[in-house]
Amino acid sequence: MKSQLTPAHAVSALLIALCAAVPYLASALDEPFYVIVFARIMIWAIAAISLNLIMGFGGMISFGHAVYLGIGGYAVGILAFHDITSAWIQLPAAIGLCALVALVFGVICLRTRGIYFIMITLALAQMVFFLSVSAERYGSDDGLNILWRSDFGSGIVDLEDGAVMYYTIFAVLMGCLFLQWRMVVSRFGMVLRASQSNETRVQAVGIPTYRYRLAAFVIAGVMCGLAGFLQANLERFVSPDMMNWHRSGELILMTVLGGTATLFGPLVGAVVFLLLSEMLSTITIHWHLLFGPFLILVVLFARGGVMGLLGSRTTRD
């Protein structure tokens, strides 16, 4: 991991500084809208980082990753619906549920490879999606409004305060970036990356790759569930749309756009993706007409994503 400083590092550092400064910049420019935009961007970045862990470093292309956003969100929504607003119940519930679901899905999905894996993760996510659609008690398609954000029971972390909410998201993002880095350079990450490039060989060395891959799958699920927890709190709303398969596609897209298997790629990708869609949608309501071909061009010509263009080498090298 010893590498020279590249433009990619500078851009990453700049982005993080920007994320940290947005509330001040927004109030200085009198554009409070940008606080929400960047809070959303950071939440998507957390989700994209979690996907990058399994997809970028582990080669497990999950096309149903948004399901954990939904589960994490619904853990908040459903508990709040029953008047349980304590974060000390909601957070463990979100984490526990995501871990459990990821474990069960992982056991099923990791028996398969390649195309099968992509489609099975998609199908299992659809299953949860339809479950949430059919849950009439919890709003079905219309979703659930959340009256009160998660209550941490202390004066310090009061999520009802906009700035505290923003910096909580920021802190979680930093934590996830750090965790991703520690995991990737550790022995665990080494096994994960090695089993992406040649699993048979890793097994021949005597390492039970299945356990490593499953563990990574569960960790990624929990991390994405955390993003769902934050999203539900930020928007005060959860709906099945959070785990629509389009969301899973967008997550993959952000990660690839930024650069898979790079530490800061998911963050860069989330920023580029969301700002670009924000901009294009102000030009025309038919912005998907431009965005679709743009995607294809990115796939065809910009391999390695933004980070690749900026000269970052993936940690695979």
Partner: protein, 311 residues
């Protein structure tokens, strides 16, 4: 007369299975032969409904519309394959997923631009209205019988095409070993284009055929696409026979689950719980089926012979 309802629902499931088969057949061939994850297959379903629906409205005949749709969809399929997908064959599955996801966004928006956001309704012609008596007090809508018959005919035709013709032989050769087939002088790019065109026609036919019942809408192909994924995963990727069996299985289990699962649950759950668990569980049923089958047979029910599916 509970068995009347049972048989009606069984036929409904059969009909859903037929639609799924038309989708899955093209998808599984494209997967099996070209090793391409084509998410935009659902868009072809939608385009078939809109193009076929427009042709029907112009010619004022559903039959004529369907007949004219076949060359139109074939042309669209070949065009999409040549312009957008051909470069993707050698790319990773991830690239293919992303690029075809981009195609979905494009097609949805293009359809919205051309036909407007409210979709397209195609009336059922008079001679297809009404019901048929199937005996024993069972009547069933004529049009749904027609769907089932058309689907079975297409399945038979596809079987003959794949199993009995020279073209089918090349397709099977391509599915089991692309490089070897190419080395033996098969013109692989042309073969790919033809197969993709056929897949587009089948998907378009499926889209048009249900339009008189549901009407054409933007994004209508996406739910069907995911069900078709389930079907080909259960059936074994690349196997048309597997797609047929799995499509009927999926269609029937899904429909029967939605109609009767709450009744079954009532046998051992209190009414309250059964009423709320029924719809939830029935919408999950086919995914549970898929997970179950994959757990024991990760390659699906009918993995094609000689295919190197799991590297």
């Amino acid at each position: 007369m509970d068995y009347v309802l049972l048989i009606e629902q069984l036929l409904n499931g059969f009909q859903l299975g037929i639609i799924l088969f038309l989708m899955a057949a093209g998808l599984t061939l494209v997967f099996g032969i070209m090793d391409l994850v084509n998410l935009a297959h659902g868009s072809l379903f939608m385009i078939g409904a809109f193009v076929g629906g427009t042709l029907t409205l112009v010619t004022d005949s559903l039959v004529l519309g369907a007949v004219l749709m076949v060359p139109a969809m074939f042309a669209i399929g070949v065009l999409v394959e040549t312009i957008a997908l051909r470069t993707l064959y050698r790319r990773s599955h991830l690239d293919q997923v992303l690029a075809t996801f981009g195609l979905i966004l494009f097609f949805n928006e293009a359809t919205r631009l051309i036909w407007g956001p409210e979709g397209l309704a195609v009336p059922l012609p008079d001679f297809l209205e009404g019901t048929v008596a199937l005996g024993a007090g069972i009547t069933y809508p004529l049009y749904r019988v027609v769907i089932i018959v058309i689907g079975l005919l297409v399945a038979l035709g596809l079987y003959l095409l794949v199993a009995r013709t020279r073209f089918g032989m090349l397709v099977r050769a391509g599915a089991s070993n692309r490089e070897m087939a190419g080395a033996l002088g098969v013109n692989i790019p042309v073969l790919f284009s033809l197969v993709f065109g056929i897949g587009a026609v089948l998907a378009g036919l499926a889209g048009l055929i249900i339009t008189p019942i549901t009407q054409a809408a933007i994004g209508m192909g996406e739910d069907v696409l995911i069900l078709a994924f389930v079907v080909i995963v259960i059936g074994g990727i690349g196997s048309v026979r597997g797609a047929f069996v799995a499509a009927l299985l999926t269609g029937i289990i899904d429909t029967m689950g939605r109609s009767f699962l709450d009744v079954v649950l009532l046998l051992f759950l209190p009414p309250n719980a059964a009423e709320s668990a029924g719809p939830a569980l029935s919408s999950m049923l086919i995914y549970i089926l898929m997970a179950g089958i994959l757990f024991f047979r990760p390659q699906g029910l009918f993995p094609p012979r000689g295919a190197t599916a799991a590297p």
